[in-house]
Symmetry: C2
Subunit: 535 residues, 2 copies
Amino acid sequence: MLTFADPLIRAEQCFSDAPALVDGSARFCFGELVERCRRLAGAIRAATQRGDRVAVLATNSHRVLELYLATPSAGRLIVPLNTRLAQPELAYALKDCGARILLTDRPASQLGPLSGLVERVIGLGDDYEQWIASAPAAELGADVDENDVAGLFYTGGTTGTAKGVMLTHRNKLADTLHLQTCVRITADDSWLVLSPMHHAAGTFQALLCIWLGARQILIPGFDAGPVLDLIERERVTVIFGVPAMLTAMVDEQAARSRDTSSLRLMGYGAAPASSRLLARFHEQFPTTELVSMYGATELAPMGTALEHMERFIGTDRVRSAGRAIAGVRIRVVDEEIKDLAGGEIGQVIVRGPNVMKGYWNKPEQTASVLRDGWYHTGDLGYLDAEGCLHLVDRAKDMIVSGGENVYSTEVEEALYHHPDVFECAVFGVPDPRWGEAVRAVVVLRGEATPDGATPDGATLDGAALDAAAPDAEATNAKATNAETLREHCRELLGGYKVPKQIEIRSEPLPRSAAGKVLKRELRAPFWKGHERSIS
Amino acid sequence: MLTFADPLIRAEQCFSDAPALVDGSARFCFGELVERCRRLAGAIRAATQRGDRVAVLATNSHRVLELYLATPSAGRLIVPLNTRLAQPELAYALKDCGARILLTDRPASQLGPLSGLVERVIGLGDDYEQWIASAPAAELGADVDENDVAGLFYTGGTTGTAKGVMLTHRNKLADTLHLQTCVRITADDSWLVLSPMHHAAGTFQALLCIWLGARQILIPGFDAGPVLDLIERERVTVIFGVPAMLTAMVDEQAARSRDTSSLRLMGYGAAPASSRLLARFHEQFPTTELVSMYGATELAPMGTALEHMERFIGTDRVRSAGRAIAGVRIRVVDEEIKDLAGGEIGQVIVRGPNVMKGYWNKPEQTASVLRDGWYHTGDLGYLDAEGCLHLVDRAKDMIVSGGENVYSTEVEEALYHHPDVFECAVFGVPDPRWGEAVRAVVVLRGEATPDGATPDGATLDGAALDAAAPDAEATNAKATNAETLREHCRELLGGYKVPKQIEIRSEPLPRSAAGKVLKRELRAPFWKGHERSIS
């Protein structure tokens, strides 16, 4: 029923001459933006078939936003690639989705073998402008159904391979209207986009702002100083960020105060913020409402939210992820999918028109998380008496570092590919700058146990067992140290996933009776005294 | 995906102890309301089959609201009957929908033959309370699909027979989220319901308020004095009414001022309000935002809206119905369904997930208004450069009197059933209290032309031709006058449809070359000097 074309068409009908986009010196009104999208849709339709994938690898710009809007409106799938991924990870995603076109702001020299994986690479500068200038305008949304997949959004997976989350037009349009119930936008708003657009958090405002005639301001990346300058200069009203950004903004504002009185709302998510951080933020930005949000790429992305968090500073509620956003159902269930009483910890499951269609070409992994219409998040938590969700653990062992999701199992698998690694555990530890830092504890071969043996007869997890078969013969473990392991990881993983801290220890990792590594035991000493809901 | 059960379940999860409903001395928190709905759903399920119809004939009360919420949540169709209809009209609707149960606040003595049309009549007092007290609680929304019809909403038809508008769960839930983009509700709001719940305007707030934890205040009917008292006493924040209500509120507030500073928003619709009325309202209620709305039962009901109308007093925009609400597409097209340029007058057509499934048991009439997913409103208008819709005529000749829709052709048919009526035309004229009053111009048999002849050889409209065959022999036309005609109408029509003014004239009605009665000519003298977009 509704597709990406609907917000664009309404914006053109109602706000044609009003400012739509600011990107450095480039400024477009809605009429111009929609016309550019129409030409871009025409160019895409001419170069591809219905349902083809179009990949984007670039830092935020108005062209990236245009691609995000026009590709689905042309009946093709947008695939935003994470710019922080390493080449093998990018190659995997490109091959997995089978993109025909790659649009990128990277020079050919930096693409390496990636260029060979697609039919055509188009540079996001003059090439792009020429491409759309010569294209016939296409009717936006023609032959597009609400249940068509609008894009594939790659997310790290617990199994070590990324999964393309299939979000339909309906998923995204539903999420957009749900979002409006806690972030109430009008045509008077200006939303400064801080997150990269390969993340849900970088685009979840896009359709909403366009639908309601609000302005979006784009920057290539977050830097607290320029961001505060921009808030003052452009009279920004709404932003969304991760707690690490809040910290940087507070420090910057404390050091050099700008007029940020226009900033009426700051949403934040990906990790809980401490009472102390919220109090400091509220002191520096007294006119700004704080809204806590929790979601997942699979939810397109919103799950819960809590408005006016600044009112809860110093209370337990600060650690809450908030209430099910209107349109979304949240339950906390036991292993038999029975509802648990308030306060009891279980798995968080979610239902709504925003829940993804599934993982691209991964029916088994889809079936394991989508059951009877409910998405099983893998997160553990409980609901309080007022419906606020409190997360207590991540069953998926995800680490959130600087707003990026790092799956510990993925990093562990990379470590296991090093011939000298006998066993390892990866988890997050507090980091003043990034929120969490990736820490690995590694036991080298021949250190704690005889080469190749399973310690204490315990059963390793399946994934670890697979990985325990090394790629190559064991090298001399004596030459392997934290630095060489980091180097090894850098070849396989995006930089933000590479452990900042690697501890090499000689005693075996602590394990449960069932043989599972007790990560909580490893993690606990680092989190002592830190206010945090994820233990 | 989403059903009527979703707002109820969220409200119970998040706002269990918060006030949900005020109805005189009855007050329920959300936990109580949802539990009552669960029992009511249980009672309904026990007494009916999936898809059965449950009719309600009653003035507003918390029980009527519970029925509106619980019947669809139980997988049955709610059928709210217009309390102002005459017995034959009510009988028609009951027979047309085939309701098994009728819930009513009317004593059996007033129901007459209506009781015989259903299996069971349940009184909306103690009977109702006993019925739900003994019922097992049912799971809300179990086995209900978003595309199931939630209710039949009867609307007068141009052909003289009422049509049951089928609105699905999805239709209503979509409209609810669309509404939120122009009437932004939070858990701090209190919505006083002024319109009768057999109208879309009496229930369109219900799911929204429940979803977001806002309070609803119910009254049996509109009376400006008590309404202003209630606004002051209950700190009401939002209301919706028709222009006639605005007028009455302004007069009342001017005569005896209450503290209405809590009233942050007043929506109004069904007819445009004049600049003068808006200015007077703004003077008496300076803290209240005015939101103009336009819709139709077939749209569940929202089509367009314009916020902050108080800013446009004295401008052309005051006459606008507003912009397509986000989620809804509006086009103005010519007879070949081609888009017209801005400013050009054509038919208004509408698309969106809110558009009805069709008319109950009326496939032909459904097909005539639902084409390629677009609902053809029959209204004529144009779009201005900023996407604001201006209505210039009602192709369906609808009169809006005190917020009630009166279709002129329906009243004409009733008149034609009188044996002495030779020809007639019904239209709306300005009325200080009701917005519009129903006026009829009647030519009696044997007055202007020979008995039974068609005047001037012109062709009467099809409907008029059918009706021109009188039910009985012509009586002595000399004895027929405005009063006897009104009496005749009262037997066939709801009181609000009976012409307030009847002019009996001897000259034939003005007709076009094609033989159509030129209602505009008849109407024009009355509207001279009145600021109004419907000519």
